[in-house]
């Protein structure tokens, strides 16, 4: 039993299950980031010829043409066919969505008001790209992607072609001239109240109906759609629109099949000249699989994976996605696993290892701001476990194989999640805990029942339907797979900026732009009301602006291929943008930074009105001086209860603001005529949002990041450990919003061994009984501890866990911290 250590490092260190998987991972890690203009070049060529065609049919024709022209690249050792680009790590520039950021970059202009705050990362593939650019005469685009000089010239022409035709420009023409509060939006960008324009990558948070795609196969869907057209009896003029969508659907499916057939042909060609008999056999097998799926139903597990991958990839190619997701893949693939006598857990794991590398290889290129916000992550969320339509647990052998593949590979994609339910199998949960302990940060845990309750309240869909289809699309946004409009939203609203406005009579302290009327609050209620009114304006304008933009979306880049696989688009004869999906209130309004608002209001209430330690004016002055010369006052501000300590003084303020936000968001209908759903999440917004904000009354300094997540405390202000954070967080009614994330940091020794895993699972269970919605564990590594040395204020609550020993990280001298880092690194 001598297994434990004083302070441990990573307990679980996985290795790829065979040399092929190891090769894939190494190849990925050593590859530069490439921009591939092939798809957009062909799409543009077609677009020039389809002028005047009905919108949906034109979009389908252009996309199908581009698909049929794409090069089918099969890389060395590949068993799974299908790549988004010709390169290992490649991105398609979707200038049909937004040409503007690229043109501005070429013209050396600033892309948008926030691009200067975007952080692009420096290491890994980005480093490789920059080195290669310097060596081989490539042009560097969007700070990290390589493009050959020849392609660069072509790309410039393509961008110019789309300059006035792309979604973004068409949208701008609408809202900038027709929306009464257009100036509010533009000023909102200038001051950082809103994240940068989202048009470069608006799609995502979408999950297709892979179950049907696999079971029916494309040929059956084409046949059924043709029958619909033949038997169609329009009852009114508007009905005739259906024909367009159906015809577009058939066109786009044929285009998809053309690309698949290119892969089959390429595999056959390669097989002919292959001298290694084993590889030859593999290529012939790949060809055979590609001749069968996704056109028809898979005959075994491997074909099921290939069929899924093609449909997934084809949906990915169609739009500029961020958060487009595979959903409940374990559940979808299980019937094929169960019925395949030759598949083993090990073989399945190996297949997933290759697929996960392929998912990680997909890059996205957008505006610098949005690249920074996503940090290169595509948020392809694969969620395991949960219960099925009958309320029975649906974790299975495929779930275990997927977890094992991620443990072995430790890749940034897919974003792995678990739907939590009491009924889940213990072995499955222990395997999930094992995966967390690799330090990869996955899986995140989501409470399935919380989201089920949300959809029962807001959608009115039957319980069985919600249970069966609920999944996570993107980072933490729950949705119903195969039946929801993707969450095509405007971007993020920065609650933190509203504090700046409250503190400065409605004027942004950096730009001097007035965003709200001037007020002199005399009571705490006045302060609160001032914030609420500013929040109301910020949200409502943002929603109304986006409703107009989405008209342009419908007219430029409606998703046709994706609509084919979202119910009930085909049955209704409508694409998603026309309301074809069954769930249309899925267009959420996203925001982040509410914790800082609540903390700040608590400080104002306590110091200015309850205890009258200082006046509101004095506090404003201190904040505008970035607390310089006001250190004693800042100490008092920090001593006021902050969110995350289970203290009702602050927690009630947070809950009040949370309710106000939810009520207000759902008071506006979206462009599909359903109420907007409230949602809060963060991705990387706390960093750039914090950079544009002044110091806050809660003690935060100017430019510091905002609180992470949604209910995560501001770094360093939670004093009573993770259980107090959870007690605070569980006061929130998570059924009101879609998303609501909580990140917890743990030193590896706190999760060590079987008992460590069990304690972690008990923690999750306790939070979800309350009920919470999401929790994610970051296992502290030595890199994080080095950061903790530089920024101790962010790690106030980090406890170095040694039996019977009492010490917080920030109370340890540098020499001792070094010792802990050394031990963490060396697994002692």
């Amino acid at each position: 039993m001598a297994t434990s250590e004083l302070i441990s490092g990573r307990e679980i260190v996985g290795t790829p299950s065979d040399t092929r998987s190891a090769f894939f991972k190494a190849r990925y890690l050593g590859s530069p980031l490439m921009m591939d203009i092939e798809y957009i070049k062909h799409l543009t060529a077609s677009h020039k010829l389809t002028e005047g065609m009905e919108v949906l049919e034109r979009r389908a024709t252009d996309h199908a043409y581009a698909l049929s022209k794409m090069t089918a690249v099969i890389h060395e050792n590949d068993l799974l066919a299908g790549n988004k680009t010709r390169f290992i790590r490649g991105a398609i520039p979707y200038v049909n969505y937004a040409a503007d950021p690229f043109l501005k970059e070429m013209r050396k202009e600033e892309q948008d008001a926030q691009s200067k705050y975007a952080e692009q990362g420096e290491g890994g593939g980005i480093k490789n790209s920059r080195a290669e650019a310097a060596l081989n005469g490539f042009r560097l685009v969007s700070e990290k992607f390589l493009l050959s000089a020849e392609d660069y010239g072509q790309f410039e022409e393509i961008c110019e072609y789309w300059e006035d035709k792309c979604f973004m420009e068409q949208g701008n023409r609408l809202w900038k001239t027709q929306f009464g509060n257009a100036a509010f939006i533009e000023n909102g960008w200038k001051i950082g109240l809103y994240s940068a324009p989202h048009e470069p990558c608006p799609e995502g948070r979408l999950i297709l109906d892979f179950e049907t795609a696999l079971a029916k196969g494309y040929l059956t869907i084409i046949r059924e759609t043709e029958e619909k057209i033949h038997s169609f009896q329009p009852e009114n003029i508007a009905d005739s629109e259906k024909i367009h969508f159906w015809k577009a659907s058939i066109t786009v499916l044929h285009g998809a099949i053309a690309l698949v057939e290119s892969y089959a042909a390429q595999a056959e060609t390669l097989a002919k000249t292959e001298i290694n008999p084993l590889r030859k056999e593999e290529l012939l097998q790949m060809a055979e699989v590609c001749r069968h799926v996704p056109m028809e139903s898979p005959r075994n597990f491997r074909e099921a994976i290939q069929s899924f991958w093609f449909t997934y990839l084809l949906g990915h190619i169609e739009g500029s996605h961020l958060g487009y997701s595979p959903g409940r893949l374990d559940k979808v693939l299980y019937p094929y696993y169960k019925n395949d006598p030759d598949i083993t857990p090990e073989k399945a794991t190996t297949l997933f290892e290759e697929m996960f590398v392929k998912m990680t290889q997909i890059e996205y290129i957008a505006s610098l701001s949005w690249q920074g916000l996503g940090h290169g992550n595509l948020y392809q969320n694969l969620i395991l476990g949960g219960i099925d339509e009958n309320g029975e647990r649906s974790d299975n052998e495929v779930s275990l194989a997927i977890l094992q593949a991620q443990i072995n590979m430790q890749l940034t994609q897919p974003t792995l999640s678990v739907w939590w339910d009491e009924k889940l199998d213990t072995d499955f949960l222990m395997k999930a805990a094992e995966c967390v302990k690799t330090g990869v940060g996955y899986p995140a845990f989501f409470n399935q029942n919380t989201y089920i309750q949300h959809e029962l309240k807001t959608s009115g869909l039957p319980l069985e339907v919600i249970r069966k289809n609920c999944a996570i699309g993107g980072c933490t946004e729950p949705t119903l797979q195969g039946m929801s409009h993707g969450i095509v939203q405007a971007g993020f609203v920065n609650h933190g900026k509203m504090i700046d406005l409250v503190m400065n009579q409605g004027v942004d302290p950096f730009t001097g732009i007035r965003m709200a009327e001037s007020r002199q609050p005399a009571t705490f209620e006045d302060v609160r009301k001032y914030y609420i009114d500013i929040m109301h304006d910020a949200i409502r304008n943002w929603q109304q602006y986006w409703n107009i933009v989405m008209v342009a979306h419908r007219n430029t880049v409606p998703l046709v291929f994706c609509s084919v696989f979202v119910n009930d688009c085909l049955a209704k004869g409508k694409c998603m943008d026309d309301g074809g999906a069954l769930l249309n209130q899925s267009i959420t309004t996203l925001s982040s930074g509410l914790v800082n608002v609540a903390n700040s209001l608590a400080v104002i209430k306590k110091l200015c009105y309850d205890d009258t330690v200082c006046s509101f004016e004095e506090l404003r002055f201190a904040v505008n001086e970035n607390w310089k010369g006001f250190e004693p006052l800042r100490k008092k501000a920090l001593a006021v209860p902050h969110w995350g300590n289970d203290d009702n003084y602050i927690d009630n303020i947070f809950l009040d603001l949370f309710d106000e936000y939810c009520d207000w968001v759902s008071g506006q209908d979206n462009y599909l005529g359903k109420p907007y759903d409230p949602s809060m999440l963060a991705i990387s917004t706390p960093v750039p949002f914090g950079k544009v904000c002044n110091a806050f009354p809660d003690g935060r300094m100017k430019g510091e990041s905002l609180a992470d997540g949604v209910t995560s405390p501001f770094p360093g202000t939670d004093m009573f450990g993770p259980t107090a954070v959870i007690r605070s967080s569980s006061k929130v009614d998570h059924t009101r919003i879609r998303g609501g994330l909580l990140n917890l940091k743990f030193h590896p020794s706190a999760l060590k061994g079987e008992s460590g895993s069990k304690n972690m699972l008990a923690l999750i269970q306790t939070y979800f009984e309350k009920p919470g919605f999401h929790v994610q564990f970051n296992v502290v590594d030595s890199r994080m501890l080095l950061d903790a040395q530089l920024h101790p204020e962010n790690y106030r609550d980090l406890v170095v866990r040694v039996a019977g020993f009492s010490a917080y990280w920030v109370e340890m001298s540098k020499a001792l911290q070094d010792q802990v880092i050394w031990r963490t690194e060396h697994s002692l």
Binding site: A750, G804, F805, S806
Partner: protein, 300 residues
């Protein structure tokens, strides 16, 4: 009733089963040279000075009513003899950088139970509970007993980590309300025990035998200190004592020097600077030693 504690640590996972709340109590009769919580030894609250937080603003020097802090080259210099931790504690209040803090605070039994009870759902789902550590919890017997009783009323699993030096009556009183004893054994040789801990071992062994005779649930904890507790004869004696008392579970706590800085911060002297640290192999060998003698051995 009031007690004096250092801190309450939530989500503690190394001192008893499941997710626990760890209460560090002030005051210990022993003075072990390897102690990693030296600030727990004195029963009184103590000032702590974190030099690396100090920005040398000297506000404390200016306001100290007893002139027991003075300016030094790079911060403040505190005279521990003259500072009697005055009522005003003005130096703490005046410090904007949290460089001066107080180790130890008074708390009522009710307040402590309330803090412990906050995490009941976590205990229930993990099989956890509360562990009283320190310091020596039995240095505050009446307070401990009251808190333990209240915890049992709330059906919370209770554990105490004890050095075994306690009055027989105090020990007897808490048995019905204590689910688990984490009982420290250090040095079996009476003379060496006296030298390294400052107290005789006799009463400790008698208390252990008494607890065992009452069928208390006991895990022996041994701090592994190079050359002091990890000698073969000492370990052999510990194994023998355990067999004699019918005990099976032992937990080794390898020496670490993480507590070292806390000595200086509290104006105390650390005497083990020369000691080396264990590596995994050495710990495994020591653990095997007990496993081979039929004991269930874990490493904390």
């Amino acid at each position: 009733m009031n007690g004096t504690i250092l801190t309450i640590q939530h989500y503690a996972v190394h001192d008893g089963p499941g997710i626990r709340t760890l209460v560090f109590m002030k005051g210990c009769p022993l003075r072990c040279s390897w102690c990693c919580n030296p600030e727990s030894q004195s029963a009184q609250p103590q000032l702590r000075y974190l030099k690396f937080h100090c920005k040398a603003c000297l506000e404390c020097v200016e306001h100290c009513p007893t002139a027991s802090v003075s300016a030094s080259d790079d911060g403040m210099q505190r005279s521990f003899d003259e500072c009697n931790i005055c009522e005003s504690k003005v130096c703490i209040e005046k410090c904007n950088n949290n460089a001066i803090t107080l180790s130890g605070k008074e708390i009522t039994a009710d307040e402590l139970v309330k803090a412990i009870a906050l995490d009941i759902p976590f205990y229930r789902n993990s099989g956890g509970g509360v562990t009283f550590s320190g310091g020596e919890p039995l240095m505050q017997p009446a307070f401990l007993l009251e808190v333990l009783k209240e915890c049992k009323t709330l059906e919370i699993h209770t554990a105490i980590e004890t050095c075994g030096w306690a009055g027989r009556k105090s020990l007897q009183d808490i048995i019905p309300f204590t689910d688990l004893f984490l009982f420290d054994l250090k040095i079996m040789d009476p003379e060496l025990h006296q030298i390294h801990t400052g107290m005789p071992i006799g009463p400790i062994l008698e208390n252990l035998a008494f607890l065992a005779s009452q069928n208390a649930d006991i895990i022996i904890r041994v701090p592994l200190v190079p050359g002091i507790t990890d000698t073969l004869p000492n370990m052999e004696s510990i194994a023998e004592i355990m067999h004699a008392n019918g005990l099976e579970q032992i937990c080794l706590e390898p020496y670490h020097s993480l507590g070292q800085a806390k000595y200086e911060e509290h104006g105390l002297k650390y005497s083990l600077e020369h000691l080396g640290l264990y590596n995994m192999q050495q710990i495994n060998v020591l653990c095997d030693f007990f496993t081979l003698r039929g004991l269930i051995c874990e490493v904390a």
